[in-house]
């Protein structure tokens, strides 16, 4: 039997409550999409393209939900203090729900599109190209050797952290150099670092050293270029952004 025009499920025949539910569902999808594309690309992706800040869209959506819940369910929570608390909790968790669900979904797509990445490529996302240099150092130095690293201060954020370098190069022993140290460490190797970390570049070691050989890391080919019998003099290398190793001359 055909339905009459009065009974048909058209938008104009729907009750106001149903219309609001549909509107909120569409809004949810819209705000979710904004968060999803932001998670999939980079922070400020949506702002740079459409001048929309996802966090603000989430808050607006959160307020709409609170209004909806207040107008429909306030009899369930009659106390004003609890109503305010519930509102505050909702304004925190609704944006969290949007970002969490979008990040979780985006995670699948990101992983699926990068399923064949090597471990170095994944690590590169966090510490940059340094991963290849650290792996080169690990390949080059003897496991039972002592390596001197830059002092634990900026700009040597990674290379100046004995804990970080030690974890990467284990079982190599790593000691960071102290700024006020007069006598050079009797290390087997010195790490050459031009780490800048946003600060002006500061080549290290910034003092001369008697060397058996200097190995400069070639970033493009992931190999070391050796300079046998050449002592380390920082003035010779300044401004060249060199990274590598100094094999010290043991007396």
């Amino acid at each position: 039997m055909m339905k009459s025009s009065k009974d048909r499920y058209t938008l104009s025949n729907l009750k106001l409550a149903s219309k609001i539910k549909i509107l909120l569902s569409i809004l949810f999808l819209g705000v979710f999409s904004i968060n999803f594309f932001e998670s999939l690309n980079y922070p400020n992706y949506f702002y740079s393209h459409f001048r929309i800040i996802p966090q603000e869209a989430n808050l607006v959506f959160g307020f709409l939900i609170i209004l909806y819940l207040y107008s429909n369910f306030r009899h369930r929570l009659t106390n004003k203090l609890l109503q305010i608390s519930a509102g505050l909790l909702l304004i925190s968790i609704i944006p969290a729900l949007l970002t969490t669900s979008s990040q979780f979904t985006a995670r699948f797509i990101k992983v699926a599109s990068r399923y064949d990445w090597t471990i170095e490529q994944k690590q590169e996302l966090v510490i940059g190209k340094l991963v290849y240099f650290l792996n080169f150092v690990k390949r080059t130095v003897r496991p039972d050797s002592l390596l001197a690293a830059p002092p634990e201060s900026l700009p040597w954020h990674y290379t100046g952290s004995s804990q970080y370098i030690r974890a990467w190069l284990y079982p190599v022993t790593v000691e960071t150099y102290y700024l006020d140290k007069i006598e050079p460490l009797s290390a087997d190797y010195y790490l050459i670092s031009s780490e800048a970390n946003g600060a002006p570049e500061h080549l290290w070691p910034d003092f001369p050293l008697a060397a058996e050989k200097i190995i400069i890391y070639d970033w493009e080919n992931d190999i070391g270029i050796e300079y046998p019998g050449l002592d380390w003099n920082p003035d010779d290398w300044k401004g060249k952004s060199v990274w590598g190793l100094i094999l010290t001359q043991k007396i």
Binding site: S85, A86, L89, I93, V111, K122, S161, Q163, Y164, A167
Partner: protein, 364 residues
């Protein structure tokens, strides 16, 4: 019942694996590389088969959710600083030497217990290249555990909603892909607190035991004292005399003052300022929700004071702990992120307090 047993098995199973490895090497001097991992996996398979025979649909849903949560996590390597330099590093040393004594140089075991490091080791020994799924699964099972506990007194829809409210507390989801100890610490503490809260209502010995076990488990994850607070408060709720409770609180206050005497007021104010912007402002509006809910509890004369007293105890411990740390480190406020991570359990605790009170269950 199965809905609750499965997460209990998961969480206490993790504790059992790590403690077992620790005891085997530390007490019986067995090299960990000689310890087979298959008995653990056989036990897991056997348990799942047993649970399936009882409630196959629930086990199937849990398995599907587990795959869904852990699958993308397999892609991620360990990259976060503390994990690279400590938690995962210790597991990598163990993979080479099999001796716990070889990892002790890195950090004090009392401050940084071996829980996650030994689980990482167990994962690596099982030929799984990344330990990251552990954290995704811990997050998922936290949700399942909360659901099962709410479902004891509430219907399915409300239980799911309340579990979601707690799961969405700040930082928890973010930490499901960070190999730090903060997420497991938070989860064991909150589950333990929840069990103890239930015990204050029903006085079932099993809930008390589980609450104590979960709270004590936190000491094997990080060397923080928060786990003792819910246990202490739960015991205090059994003391009927107000005089005795007042005397205990007074004694505790006097011991704290004696411990930190002479109090450096300037430093204490600096610590309070650090907590104000580092925690209260950062986690706003959760602290305000706590205050409003507390006022409601007082006005409504709700009788069960376990949750608010526990949360107040957490705040007191946060202040005292930071003051204690500030005495030894003059630049104590340089890593607010570390403090925020450490105390991230405060938000799910506040959410839990709110939802429990709003269901009127605390009035009884």
């Amino acid at each position: 019942m199965i809905a609750e047993l499965l997460p209990i098995f998961f969480f206490l199973g993790l504790q059992a694996i790590s403690l077992c490895l620790f005891v085997l090497n530390n007490l019986f001097k067995i090299n960990l590389l000689q310890v087979p991992v298959w008995p653990f996996w056989v036990t897991l398979a056997g348990t799942l088969i047993y649970f399936s025979s009882k409630r196959s649909k629930f086990v199937l849903v849990t398995l599907i959710l587990s795959v869904l949560f852990s699958l993308p996590a397999f892609w991620y390597p360990v990259t976060d600083w503390d994990a690279v330099t400590l938690f995962d590093f210790r597991a990598k040393i163990l993979m080479q030497t099999g001796q716990i004594s070889d990892v002790l140089f890195r950090a004090k075991i009392s401050e940084y217990p071996l829980f996650t490091s030994l689980i990482h080791f167990f994962i690596f020994r099982s030929n799984i290249s990344s330990p990251m799924p552990l954290y995704a699964l811990v997050y998922l099972f936290f949700g399942l555990h909360l659901y099962s506990l709410f479902h004891r007194i509430l219907n399915v829809r409300t239980s799911l909603l309340f579990s979601l409210v707690i799961l969405l507390a700040p930082k928890l989801f973010e930490h499901s892909l960070i190999a730090y100890t903060n997420l497991p610490y938070t989860i064991y503490l909150i589950i333990g607190t929840f069990y103890l809260y239930i015990w204050t209502n029903n006085h079932r010995r099993a809930d008390l035991l589980l609450g104590i076990m979960f709270c004590l488990s936190t000491f094997w994850i990080r060397g923080f004292p928060f786990g003792i607070i819910p246990i202490f408060v739960a015991v205090a709720t059994r003391i009927k005399s107000r005089k005795i409770i007042s005397a205990i609180l007074l004694l505790g206050g006097l011991i704290a003052i004696y411990r930190f005497w002479p109090v450096n007021i300037k430093l204490l104010l600096e610590v309070l300022d650090f907590i104000k912007w580092g925690v209260i402002k950062y986690y706003f509006p959760y602290p305000l929700i706590f205050v409003l809910t507390l006022i409601y509890q007082i006005r409504a004369r709700a009788k069960n004071w376990f949750m608010p007293a526990t949360i107040l105890g957490f705040w007191a411990a946060i202040i005292l702990g930071n003051y204690h740390y500030a005495l030894t480190d003059p630049v104590f406020a340089r890593i607010p992120d570390a403090l925020q991570r450490t105390v991230m359990f405060i938000n799910p605790a506040i959410s839990l307090y709110f939802v429990l009170l709003s269901t009127n269950k605390s009035k009884t």
